[in-house]
């Protein structure tokens, strides 16, 4: 009975995720795309997007919902990138400098966002969305009228004969920012998988020896590692990734170290005092306030961290393989939407999220993204349907998550009211 309930609860929680898994498989099959192509595209998109999606976790835990204002972090990063391009700093130093500029800018913006969101508690999701739109106006003001006139810029990034920044900036060639991080080192994907499984197995053993986990969990860890390694040892699957047919999949090492670093950061910070505060504020602000936590300050810190991280994520996105141009006035627009949808697809909700959910969500969301067009072409004879289906999925998954969250809240409220009524009746 208990076991059954558990499964039911699990299914309820992850219904969106399972739906997306089913859809992904359906789409990959119907699209008729080469599996090697899908895999390489998927890897590319994971490299690009995972960091930004992971930046959403802390505000979720602090009870501030999906922080759609990460677009503002992306804007901060784009200001940094613009300055770096204008100053003509190339390669890794350029990227590092852009990241450095993003730090104070993002923190400052995050502080302002936090201040504002504190004034609209309970409406953070919609508030951050509209704040993102508002900031887009300020961003255009800055890039069209202030940069190039009040703030001097190199003439190769401004519009000829007018103030304002060009519509698209090139990152390749002499600008030298293209793949500045990605291309530092690559390792074959297969090797990365085996290494990962090895690390997982080793970590499980070490944790078991230190008595941090039970024997059951050790077994689970070891089995997962073995199964994954086993799957990729099957020649037909290995062939997809090792380049026997099509291109060999390679992992940009530094980018993934950064992504894993962020995962580690997310899980470590939750064990610190600050992390405890995030969790406490997220669970119940009144209780947190009563136990001496400065609720507003904690929320501001959560948003500041998220904004800066999103900015760095945007820099990683812009330099990544296959982008190459900086769409000055559009690059940030869909950041919040796609990241928010991705983390929700992974099974996160408005008040709960983990690293694994973020990564799985990114993987699933983008697997649909890649295949939707071809699949729609094959199913309806019209590729534009796929384009619209993608937009529908992004908005729809957020709507469903919001509805489920509100539903659960209403149910709990009702239950507690019934309890109160029963108690009152008893008394």
């Amino acid at each position: 009975m208990g076991e059954q309930n558990k499964i039911k609860a699990h299914l309820e929680k992850y219904v969106v995720t399972y739906l997306f898994i089913a859809l992904s498989i359906l789409f990959i099959v119907t699209s008729g795309l080469d599996i090697n192509y899908v895999a390489s595209q998927l890897l590319l998109r994971l490299n690009r997007n995972a960091f930004i999606v992971l930046a959403l976790i802390i505000p979720i835990i602090a009870g501030m919902g999906i922080n759609f204002a990460i677009t503002i972090g992306a804007m901060a990063a784009q200001i940094g990138l613009l300055l770096v391009i204008s100053w003509g700093i190339t390669g890794l130093p350029g990227i590092l400098l852009a990241g450095l500029i993003t730090l104070p800018l993002g923190s400052f913006f995050g502080f302002l966002i936090g201040k504002l969101l504190n004034k609209m508690k309970g409406q953070e999701t919609i508030g951050s969305l509209i704040l993102g739109y508002f900031a887009n106006g300020a961003y255009q003001l800055l890039f069209l009228f202030i940069f190039g006139s009040v703030i001097p810029l190199n003439s190769n990034v401004t519009i000829v004969g007018a103030s304002g920044v060009q519509n698209t900036l090139n990152l390749t060639g002499s600008v030298g920012l293209y793949t500045a991080v990605d291309s530092i080192a690559h390792i074959p994907f297969l090797l990365a998988v085996y290494l990962g499984c090895g690390v997982l197995a080793a970590a499980s053993v070490i944790q078991f020896v230190r008595k941090a986990i039970t024997a059951k969990r050790l077994a689970v860890g070891l089995i997962i590692a073995a199964v994954i390694a086993g799957i990729f040892s099957i020649p037909s699957i290995a062939a997809v990734v090792n380049g026997t047919h099509g291109r060999e999949l390679k992992l940009p090492l530094v980018t993934w170290l950064l992504i894993l670093g962020l995962c580690l950061f997310n899980s470590t910070i939750m064990r610190t005092r600050l992390g405890q505060k995030f969790r406490a504020v997220g669970q119940n602000q009144t209780v947190a306030n009563a136990s001496g936590i400065d609720v507003d300050r904690t929320r501001i810190i959560a948003i500041m961290i998220s904004t800066v991280l999103a900015g760095w994520g945007q820099i990683l996105f812009m330099q990544s393989e296959g982008i190459g141009t900086f769409q000055t006035y559009a690059a940030h627009e869909q950041v919040g939407l796609y990241a928010g949808a991705a983390i929700l697809v992974g099974g996160a909700s408005i008040d709960r999220a983990t690293n694994l959910q973020a990564l799985v969500g990114t993987f699933l969301f983008h697997s649909l993204f890649i295949t939707a067009q071809s699949a729609a072409s094959a199913m309806f004879g019209n590729s534009a349907v796929g384009e619209y289906f993608r937009a529908f999925l992004s908005y729809g998954v957020i709507a469903v998550a919001l509805i489920m969250y509100a539903w659960r809240g209403a149910k709990q409220k009702k239950a507690s009211q019934i309890n109160l009524a029963e108690e009152a009746a008893k008394a």
Binding site: Q123, I403, A406
Partner: protein, 750 residues
């Protein structure tokens, strides 16, 4: 705020406002002084003197420029003859030529810049007689041109199909008659001189329309090639004829489009080349993805012919110019050596100095000083800046008043409404300063009020019944759009089409709104977030819907594939501007869209009556205090359903009205932001997320559209290049929603 705090704040505000009042007083008094100075005979005389100087300057400057240009050209020719010419860089050549030019200019300036006038009175009288003739012919020409422009705009705005009007087999009289149906003024006797021009216009438009449709078809055929043929390698190496035959085999539709054969073969060649290089075949963009913007139709004066009377005036003007010219030659004899082209430009320059649309003192003064006339005594300068001083004085005075009465003002009207209203007044003053016609812009504002009014009204029942800002009103909008395309599908026109679209929209929005309200009833406290995303999702879902729904009228589906609705549908020839033109009249040169305003008024009245009815009062009670309403026996959920459904239905009607005023119906992603626009308008009007009145709707829509229209015009004249007004729209619209959220937040966490 505590008592003490109030007391410490008040005096500071008072001091600031007193300082501002003093400043305003100084500004206004000096402005009045300036106006008085304008009246004195002294300044009038010196203005006349400046005029003569300016004309002489325009003449001598023309000569000097021509001499300098000539010197440069001569130097260049000399250099070209030199053997070493090619070895010199471009910069060097430029430098040499510029040097020669500057030398010649300095010499010419020494000779001509200060011409000595022998017969001052003759020159003066020549100038004034030419000025008079110019003014007469110009004002007459302007009158005729405005008649022309009016007919032009009427025709172009209300004609959907030029090819039936002016096909190749239609003779000129028939073309005129057909155009006369849309623009009756054209057939009047006094406009006979314009008719030939308009016939030419119709023919050109018909041709352009044909070309546009061909171009669209060509793009579609190209993308058909890209999508229908998965593998181009089979086509590689074929001769043109064989390639065409094979293409026609693959895509039977091509057979009827023989005239695109060459371009398509070329495209196929490009695709084949791309495939061989291993690149993906990219089809050209099929649809215009962007939205159509409301652009004013501008008359094209190439089609304008002057009347006989005007021609006579113009010849008189030329005669008096000849006299002036001979006077000028008497002063500067070398003027006679100018080439014909420079002669014309000289005349244009003099015309510019003498014919000012706005012939106020300051406009003339600044024109003359721009032409180097010296008249810069402080009296003249003060007289010239009288108007800006007056405007600045008014602005400072208002600012002082607002600071003094900030508290009662904001308490009465709310902070955002006060700020936006002040901004609007500020924009009006700016418009006055930049000589932008406030009257014309008010006309625009009224037009846009009828466009957006009903959509904004849709927000009201939502707010009243307690669901807050109904961002999901896009559901209603889409129902209305569905009604419109249904009307188009059945080729309906005129009022029946408008009524049908409204009715069909209502019928569709009823069940949708009901289901939507059931959803929102379970989500109390989170309505705004949920409704936003439900609205977004529905818009995206319907994007697929527009593609897949079985519409088949060739006028509304993609030309070639014959399925899927197009993005933008022109309502010309159906019911575009129908309400706006109903009983419309012109007053003070602005068009009053009577029908649209009446309809908006009727809707407002209906809603106002509803909110006074039993049901309406119960609904408002359920929205403003659900617990109390529940206790007094009102079914809160039912009331919320009533409000939501009502809001959805009004939104459906609103988009129909909007589309008729706009002249186009836009599908796909176009309705996505409508909820935000309507929300910001009603909030600017003074509504909050829990309280709204009809007056909020009207004030809000007026202020919002007013600020946008004025802001756009002024931004265009202050900063070159667009964009600023769009930035302003984004920031005002979203800023006001954010403000409303901060006012409502905190207490509503459920």
């Amino acid at each position: 705020m505590s008592e003490q705090n109030k007391e410490t704040r008040s005096p500071r505000a008072r001091i600031v406002s007193i300082v501002l009042f003093i400043l305003a007083g100084i500004l206004i008094i000096s402005s009045v002084g300036g106006y008085a100075l304008q009246m004195t005979q002294d300044s009038k005389n010196s203005l006349e003197e400046m005029k003569t100087q300016a004309v002489l300057h325009a003449a001598s400057e023309g000569l000097i420029n021509s001499i300098a240009q000539q010197a440069r050209a001569e130097k260049l020719a000399e250099l070209r003859k030199d053997k070493n010419f090619r070895k010199r860089g471009l910069d060097e050549v430029n430098a040499i030529c510029d040097g020669a030019m500057n030398e010649a200019r300095a010499e010419a300036e020494r000779l001509y810049a200060n011409p000595v006038v022998q017969d001052q009175t003759a020159l003066n009288s020549a100038i004034s007689s030419y000025e008079r003739a110019l003014a007469e012919s110009s004002s007459m020409s302007e009158k005729e041109r405005s008649v022309f422009a009016e007919i032009y705009v009427q025709l172009v705005d209300n004609t959907s199909d030029w090819r039936t009007i002016a096909g190749t087999d239609v003779d000129d009289d028939a073309v005129l008659r057909a155009m006369g149906e849309t623009a009756p003024d054209l057939l009047k006797d006094e406009n006979a001189h314009l008719q030939a021009g308009f016939v030419q216009l119709a023919r050109d438009q018909a041709k352009a329309q044909q070309e546009r449709e061909d171009a669209a078809l060509e793009t579609q055929l190209k993308s058909l090639l890209a999508s229908e043929i998965p593998d181009w390698t089979a086509f590689a190496g074929l001769e043109a004829d064989a390639l065409w035959v094979k293409l026609c085999e693959e895509i039977p539709e091509l057979k009827d489009e023989e005239r695109f054969r060459d371009t398509l073969i070329q495209t196929a060649g490009e695709y084949i080349a791309a495939t061989e290089k291993g690149e993906a075949v990219s089809a050209p963009a099929e649809a215009e993805e962007g939205s159509v913007t409301v652009a004013e139709t501008q008359a094209d004066y190439r089609y304008f012919t002057p009347s006989e009377a005007l021609q006579k005036e113009e010849s008189e003007e030329s005669d008096s110019y000849e006299q002036l010219y001979s006077q000028l030659v008497a002063v500067i004899p070398d003027l006679g050596t100018l080439s014909d082209k420079l002669q014309t430009s000289l005349r244009e320059n003099i015309e510019k100095v003498l014919w000012l649309e706005d012939d106020s003192f300051s406009a003339r003064y600044s024109m003359y000083t721009a032409n180097q006339a010296t008249g810069g005594t402080w009296k003249m300068q003060l007289a010239a800046v009288a108007k800006p001083l007056m405007l600045a004085g008014t602005a400072v005075l208002l600012l002082g008043l607002v600071i003094l009465f900030w508290k009662p003002l904001t308490e009465r009207f709310g902070v955002p409404r006060t700020i936006i209203a002040l901004f609007f007044i500020f924009l009006c003053l700016m418009a006055e300063l930049y000589n932008i016609s406030v009257r014309m812009m008010l006309g625009n504002v009224f037009e846009r009020m009828t466009m957006y009014g009903v959509l904004v009204l849709a927000m009201m029942p939502g707010i009243q019944c307690g669901i807050g800002l109904n961002m999901g009103m896009t559901i209603g909008c889409i129902s209305g759009l569905l009604g419109i395309v249904l009307a188009l599908q059945f080729n309906m026109t005129g009022f029946p089409a408008l009524l049908f679209a409204c009715a069909a929209g209502t019928v569709v929005s009823l069940p949708l709104g009901w289901a939507y309200s059931k959803l929102l009833n379970r989500m109390k406290g989170n309505e705004m977030t949920i409704s936003t995303y439900v609205g977004f999702s529905f818009v995206s879902l319907m994007c697929i819907g527009w593609m897949m729904l079985p519409f088949n009228n060739p006028k509304i589906v993609w030309l070639l594939s014959g399925k899927g609705l197009r993005v933008t549908h022109s309502l010309l020839g159906s019911f575009a501007h129908l309400l706006d033109n109903f009983l419309a009249f012109r007053i003070f040169g602005i068009k009053v869209p009577t029908g649209g305003l009446l309809f908006l008024g009727l809707c407002c009245l209906a809603i106002w009556l509803f909110s006074r009815s039993r049901l309406g009062i119960a609904m408002t009670a359920a929205g403003s205090n659900p617990r109390f309403a529940e206790a007094s026996g009102i079914n809160v959920n039912r009331m919320r359903t009533v409000g939501t459904v009502l809001s959805t239905i009004i939104a459906a009607m609103g988009i129909v009205i909007y589309s008729q005023a706009f002249g186009y119906a836009q599908l796909y992603t176009a309705p996505r932001q409508l909820g935000f626009i309507a929300s910001s308008a009603i909030l600017i009007g003074g509504a909050t997320v829990s309280k709204a009145k009809v007056s909020h709707v009207l004030i809000g829509v007026f202020l919002f559209e007013g600020v946008l229209v004025f802001g756009q015009q002024i931004a265009n004249s202050v900063v070159a290049g667009g964009g600023l007004s769009e930035v302003m729209r984004i920031m005002i619209s979203n800023g006001i929603i954010l403000y409303a959220l901060t006012q409502s937040g905190g207490g509503r966490r459920g």
